[in-house]
């Protein structure tokens, strides 16, 4: 099963940031509804099992 770490939508948190934790990253998702586009970000661990949105990073 793939891990979040390898996903295009996983972005590791820089060490200088207040919420930095080793292995933690931002999972960013683009959504669109009748009122327009927006982007969501939630924290995930690189070792978490990837979700259905998983897209391997090139």
């Amino acid at each position: 099963m793939p891990k979040c770490e390898k996903c295009t939508f996983f972005f590791p948190i820089p060490e200088k940031d207040m919420d930095f934790e080793p292995g933690k990253g931002d999972c960013v998702e683009q959504q669109q509804d009748t009122k327009g586009k927006f982007w969501l970000s939630k924290p995930v661990s690189e070792n978490s099992e990837a979700c259905q949105r998983y897209r391997p990073r090139n």
């Binding site: 972005f11 919420d19 931002d26 960013v28 009122k35 927006f38 939630k42």
Partner: protein, 809 residues
Amino acid sequence: MPTTERTARLKNRCRFKHVAGGEYVDPGVKAGVERARLITQAHKENIGEPTSIIRAKGLENILKKITIHIQDDELIVGANTEHPDYFPMYPELSYFSTMDMVESHYCDHKEEMAEIAEYWKPYTIQRKAEKYFTPEEIGIMYSATTVQPPMFVTAFSSIVPNYESVIEDGLLKRIEVVEQKIADAEEEIRKSPWNAPEKLHYLDKIDQWQAMLIAMKAVVGWAQRHARLAKIIAENFLTDPKRKEELLEISDICRHVPAYPARGLKDAMQSKWFTFLLCHSIERYSSGYGHKEDKLLWPFYKKSVIEKNEQPMTREEAVELFECERLKVSEHGSTKGRQLREFFAGSNDLFILTLGGINPDGSDASNDCTNAILEAAENIVTTEPSIAFRWNEKGNVETKKRVFNCIKKGFGFPSIKNDELNTQQLIKYFNVPEEIARDWALVLCMSPGITGRRGTQKTRSEGGSDVYPAKVMEIALTNGFDEFFTNMQLGPETGNAEEFTSFDQVWEAVKLQLRYAIELSLRSKDVGRIMESRYLCCPFISSIDDGCVEKGLDGNELAEVANPWHNIIGGSVVVVDSMAAIKKLVFDEKKYSMKELMDALRNNWEGKEEMRLDFWNAPKFGNDDPYADEIATKYYDLIADEWKRNTTYSGTFPLPLAQSVAGYIVNGPKTNATANGRHAGEALDDGGISPYMGCDKNGPTAVLKSVSKINGSKHKGILLNQRLSTVLMNSDAGFDLWHAYMKTWHGLGIDHVQFNVISSEEMKAAQIEPEKHTDTLVRIAGYSAKFIDLARYSQDTIIARTEQDLAAG
């Protein structure tokens, strides 16, 4: 018209969160579960820690883990929930409020939220406070008939955040200050010799300061999350170079504020927005948008727009930013308890910013930033945020013309407060130094409070809550028993009106019922205040107040500047007119007996139309009629005197504030027929001193003269609604006529006035074809709403207001 294509697009797709009849109008609106889930998780993990630390770790958990989002086109970023269509939930406040949401169609996570609500039940401030009241007292308060239910069950609060300290200092500097406080305290408690009375208080303070540190660091981290998201979107999801550039600038701004002092207007606006979200909606829920925006932002407006040396921008770009702010407020999901959703019919929440007045040095405070904010309001046409304008004799005419332009377009705002009167009151009653008093802003709709770096209002248990006078008078005639709505004993046994033989007995019964309602309401606020300071510490809110940092105290506990006030909501003029009719027809002319009157009221005037018309045509307030006005004077003095008997948490007596929001609508169906000739269930008077609908027949000046007989300095505010002719306001002479009217109003020393400028024809047309009137705004009382979003019952109360002809005088 919106100033730019961006704000036109943003308005077109705005995710409005306003309510009507207690329900959210937009079908997409949902209750977000993440805040509730995360604060519960942190609570379970940290039980046993001091409350301030538990609360700080709750906030930290939310800010670290909640899903954040940025929408297309936005220039100001950040929200209080995981999705732009949602509003958050606060299970730590009130069990009933949470369950109301859980049972509603807004909640998609019913099982999880019900479990969360049950977990919190013993910890809520509702359960903590209820035990200090008898079941009968709880029954009275929760029925919302003579008094507003207490904050510990409605979860309603209000606050004026210390925006200045965040924007001027930045949080990293404040973190250093707090760290030094802890270091100093640690040193003090180790000094020789040991002295317990002098040292032990540091233990609680160290906990409070530690909690502030946790909160502030979490906030900086949360802003950095937004900075990262903006950059990630720019670099990974977009191709449009202009939007990419904007997002990279947003990213830079969120890296910079609120961690550091704001550099220019863009920083200041973003820092203000983050602070607003945290204080009003994330750490806990509090209503309001209380700040003096033109004063707060003026230094940054100057740097960016006029001098162009920090974050340079054109004036049009600044107006666009203010339009973005209005739309951001419009789609901010506010979570009010049931009663308040009904009380703010047609609105999202009470978002009211303040402009105008004078500076601490006495000079005119209206500047080009004031004008740009008004211009944005005029262009974008949204009901929220509402605007209060401090009318001072020194105010420049150009700004007053912009105020007029908004009013004549029918927005219902700015509402206008008498600057000199309200400044003097802060000095005289609350001992506020004059230079601080001159920076006041409205806390919510009507009540001035100080702004700045310390001492601002932190909770509604300081100022707020309601007494409902029409219902109080009703039960004063029925021995304290409510025969009409609840079938409960709502007040002391003060006798049945059938047996009253003098007008003084009527007064005495009203006074004693009012006294009971006032004291019950004040006690519930102060008990709530204690529970807030014990169990609902707000470390972030405290960390941005210089006084709380200096003293190591929570903002709920510290009452550095007393500002107690208490609303008397909708129905004051029903009482005045009813008393006038009773005096004239029962005791002066002896045309009817009290028994006949009580029979008629109990039967809703059925079969007594002639008698009802006698009471309907008795002297009415608002006509410069000495008979009715003398009773009004006595009534408003009585209110002030009755509140003055009490001393509240902050050590002084509260001032009454007569107003209504939509309480005059909601409380109509709870109130039986009244002696002013009103039917059972008919709406009450729509303000704090607005003549009853259709009863002011002698023109606008007569209204002002009646109102001016009340000693406004004894009251925190008295709301006057007036409706003006659209034809006249839009004529060439419109401004001059209105300006002359305003000078008369100001010269008479009246506290407040706000206007509806809309014709009955337009409103009736909107009732028939609502889809053609989507931008038709009206003033309710204290806030504005889209006419088409009101229930028919509410709409009719706006149409019913007398349209005054300024030219007639």
